[in-house]
Amino acid sequence: MVTASDNALFGAAQDIPAGASLAYNRVPSGWTAPNDSPAPGNSDEVLVAVRNLSFARGERHIFDGIDMDIRRGKITAIMGPSGTGKTTLLRLIGGQLRPTAGSVAVDGQVVHTLRLGELYELRKRMGMLFQSGALLTDIDVFENVAFPLREHTRLPESMIRTLVLMKLQAVGLRGASRLMPSELSGGMARRVALARAIALDPMMIMYDEPFTGQDPISMGVLVQLIRQLNDALGLTSIVVSHDVHETAAIADYIYLVSAGRVVGQGTPAELADSDSAWVRQFMQGLPDGPVAFHYPAADYAQDLLKAR
């Protein structure tokens, strides 16, 4: 079994004994990260505590005992090559998938031990921006943003209208409020999804690749917006992204994930100076290095020859 202590990059994590994952499975809700948690700082500052998390899809191990701390009021970025399981990690945090071992605790509640009602209460306080936008296609932009308000509040129509227009104004799409999702471009759809994710003023937002498909202007606006939302509303943000520059520009702390492990972490400045070959390769986008560009496969020449 792989334990957190195998991870050399993880200083204080060695304090967590092997097999701790089993114990964490049973901790009652109300549990908070122990004081010797990997990241420095007070445990009250940690909103999401990922402990020795493992997850497998069938035979494929996607995570092998990772630990992370997402701190309150900060923007934490999770970066890593395509297909390492960044989206999967967000789904584990949101309780849509169950870990095979270890735990994720959000605001002191261990997500996979919650009952459905409790989980839904917790999710009302989380916003998630899906990679695809995931807008409801049978209603227009306005109604999409109004959807969580109509489902969870009894606000009068005039109030809903004001709130929706405010959220759409924030993402620059107030003028598009009567368009259907099929009439939006990919980048616009993602901004509408962002307006929807902040409709209920959640305590945290998870952004899955917010920058893909944005032109330089809306990209800049979006980067600003994520920062402003985070600081003005006191949110906690988790940004999943490949865009090294944009992410480094706004993140307070970055986790680099690859092959089921956390391979690097630190502030953007720390990572930029890192002497780890892996971190350097990823942050500078070099084709050669410890990370393979290819999905594991048989030898290329062999494969081609076999075709004959």
Partner: protein
């Protein structure tokens, strides 16, 4: 040996799916109180499943009724019993053809659309997105569709039977010269409210449950890809047809078996 392994795996997969579909139904039903408090969600579904199916049901009912009129007249006139044409047409429609053909048409027209709609919502992460917004997609999306199908089916079956009787009347009385009064009087005296009409309504309610259940479950259980949704839609129509015909036999045996 391989054959046995495959057989075993297929059987297990089928049993698992059966189990999932029942848990799914329980979940759908647990959303009923919530939906009854939001009648607008329900009426929208009754509209899209029921009202939009009216044309195909009415046209089919008319033709089936006309065929019944023709065929019935041919047989009955051999025995000099043309006056019974009204009973024959009405009884066949109310007891059998109304509920059964309506259910088959409904599976093709509305059931397949339900499966495709829910399957695509799954494939495009709309259901997932709803979960993350703390909205239960089964209760919010599936339950109103299930109830809508349940309400629409008996009404459509009634419409089918009514239009069918008109078709039979048009052919029998209008074209073939059966006596107008005899056509209706025989129908009046021989069609029983409980035995015929209520039994027919019960059948169409059962078919409503079965067809809509299969349609929404296949959509929800579909593989979230274009191909997966396509296959689910086909399965939805095929399984619905089998289920309707199978249930019809059982119900008919129970209702009319000892008469």
């Amino acid at each position: 040996m391989n054959v046995f392994i495959r057989l075993g795996e297929t059987t297990l997969a089928m049993l698992q799916k059966l189990g999932r579909s029942h848990l799914f139904l329980l979940h759908v039903l647990s959303g009923v109180p919530g939906i009854l408090l939001r009648p607008r969600l329900l009426s929208a579904q009754v509209f899209s499943l029921g009202v939009l199916s009216i044309l195909i049901i009415a046209v089919s009912g008319l033709f089936v009724g006309m065929v019944l009129g023709l065929q019935g007249f041919n047989v009955l006139s051999d025995f000099g019993a043309e006056e019974s044409l009204g009973v024959m047409v009405a009884a066949s429609l109310v007891r059998e053809l109304g509920p059964v053909v309506t259910a088959l048409l409904f599976a093709g027209r509305a059931g397949s659309a339900l499966t495709a709609e829910i399957g695509l919502m799954k494939a495009t992460e709309q259901l997932s997105g709803m979960e993350m917004m703390a909205v239960d997609p089964i209760k919010r999306i599936v339950t109103p569709r299930f109830l809508g199908g349940l309400i629409a089916m008996p009404l459509l079956a009634a419409l089918f039977s009514m239009v069918g009787v008109m078709g039979g009347f048009f052919v029998g009385v209008g074209l073939l010269g059966v006596d107008d009064g005899a056509f209706w009087t025989a129908m009046h005296t021989h069609i029983d409210f409980w035995d015929d009409i209520i039994n027919g309504v019960i059948k169409s309610l059962v078919f409503g449950v079965v067809v809509t259940w299969i349609a929404v479950f296949e959509g929800y259980d579909a593989l979230p890809t274009s191909e997966g949704v396509g296959r689910a839609t086909t399965r939805s129509v095929v399984f619905s047809a089998f289920a309707v015909l199978g249930c019809d036999f059982v119900l008919t045996a129970l209702m009319f078996g000892d008469a």
